[in-house]
Amino acid sequence: MNVSRLVAPIGSVVLLTLLAASPLGIPADDRFFLPLLPVIAIHYWTLRHDAWLPEWVVFLAGLALDILTHGPVGYWAFIYLLAHLIATLGSRVHPETTLARLALLGLAIAMVTIAAWAVASIYFFEVLDWRPYLTGAVLASLCAILVILPLLRILDGVAEPGRNIRLTRGA
């Protein structure tokens, strides 16, 4: 594993986390898709078995977002760890085609969004409006297909080792 395989996953997650806290002038009700963008990167890199994205980095990214957005500490850390867990379990189904990978990502975004809504509702002891969450999930999925995934693929290509050949000594 070369250095770029360490930097690319962590760098992309950190950048998307900072983006989620940046003042982009988006209405408050439509901002929910921004914290879902790091979920896409977490999912992508967790499925890549040769990329290095440990759980504590995911935890720290979520914690940083909680602190910067002044939400409950641990909320996004929990949601991001959940995304990591979903991707880890998803890696067992061996999604080979692009369509299968996209379907798996869509499923992960849906599950994470439902979890985010449920945890926020429990936190406030009331059933929150689900529409901003749905809008956020749809926008995050669109962003994933149109922007984030192509960028991650380019980053992945740059960070890919020159020759992907493994040598093993036989009997």
Binding site: P23, W56, P72
Partner: protein, 318 residues
């Protein structure tokens, strides 16, 4: 997958023999930590708030840099949105301009009359309020909070409780101050409570945020007569804010009146912090200084009181 046998050396192309990842115990440990932190946060643990603000302040340089980098994208977004409703905006501005021309003449008349009356009554002139204009470097608008972080702090003499405005009107107030950054609680945050006057009769009420776009008006007298479109401004009661800062207009139904804010709180770029040291803050600062002095006098062996820290007076403005 190609495999070669060359003197007992096997080559596996692709190197993807192990595709699945294991779920490590540390993941469950970190999930447990997250949930524990969330519960502490729900209980409003004070130490958690202090640590949070210190860490958030340390992120300021990174956020400032990120905000500068994001400027071109924001400009593009703003250009697209302004182009989309350019016609409607032009019509609205024309109508508003006509109305304002009439009001300009009327306000000049009233201004002269007011100056005469004030001179006659020997009214104490209002103090000039200075201000500092700051850039918004982080936005935490979402389900849990409506606040922004700005790039001026105690080095610019910003204090907790100072009102924050922009060209359109009232924005919020300072709730946390670091050396270089401050956090502004927006008027629509669930923790925001602002004493206001409603309408021409100046009916007193409290403007209470609920994280939505239209804060509620609370504690109005039962026989209060208000109408849709009535202006809402700060009343100055309590001495935290100067009177007369424009906040918005009464909208929705009058049974549960809500206010549409004059300021669009979503695309905030720059805001101004008013250095308003009202009587309440002067009194609180005086009492705090007195308490520090007496505590220092009673324990002379102790080290001198710390200088004003990043979170000094935190919460006193809430």
């Amino acid at each position: 997958m190609a495999r070669f046998n060359d003197d007992g050396l096997f080559l596996q192309r692709g190197g993807r023999a192990e595709q699945r990842r294991r779920v490590r115990p540390i993941l469950f440990f970190l999930i447990f930590i997250s949930l524990a932190l969330m519960i502490l946060s729900r209980l409003h643990h004070s130490s958690l708030d202090t640590v949070r603000w210190h860490i958030a302040s340390s992120f300021a340089p990174m956020l400032q840099s990120a905000t500068k980098r994001a400027d071109p994208f924001r400009a593009i977004g703003r250009t697209i949105s302004s182009q989309l409703d350019l016609n409607a905006e032009l019509q609205r501005l024309k109508a508003e301009n006509q109305k304002l021309k009439g009001w300009e003449w009327r306000s000049k008349q009233l201004e002269a009359k007011l100056a005469d009356l004030e001179a006659l009554m020997k009214v104490v002139p209002e103090k000039h309020i200075s201000f500092v204009t700051s850039r918004v470097i982080a936005d935490s608008s979402g389900a849990f909070a409506r606040s922004i972080m700005i790039n001026s702090g105690s080095k610019e003499n910003v204090k907790v409780g100072y009102p924050v405005i922009n060209a359109d009107g009232f924005v919020g107030r300072i709730v946390d101050v670091g050396p270089d950054v401050s956090r502004v609680l927006l008027a629509c945050d669930v923790d925001s409570r602002i004493p206001v006057n409603v309408g021409v009769n100046g009916i007193h009420a409290i403007l209470a945020g609920d994280n939505g776009d239209h804060p509620r008006l609370l504690y109005m007298p039962d026989d209060a007569k208000i109408a849709l479109g009535d202006d809402v401004s700060t009343s100055g009661i309590g001495g935290l804010f100067p009177p007369g800062l424009q906040i918005g207009k009464v909208t929705t139904n009058l049974d549960e009146p809500r206010v549409t804010l004059r300021t669009n709180l979503d695309p905030l770029d720059y805001v101004s912090v008013l250095f308003f040291d009202g009587p309440a803050r002067t009194l609180a600062d005086g009492l705090s200084a007195e308490r520090d002095r007496s505590a220092h006098a009673s324990s002379p062996s102790k080290s001198p009181p710390p200088s004003k820290s990043a979170t000094s007076g935190r919460g006193s403005g809430r």
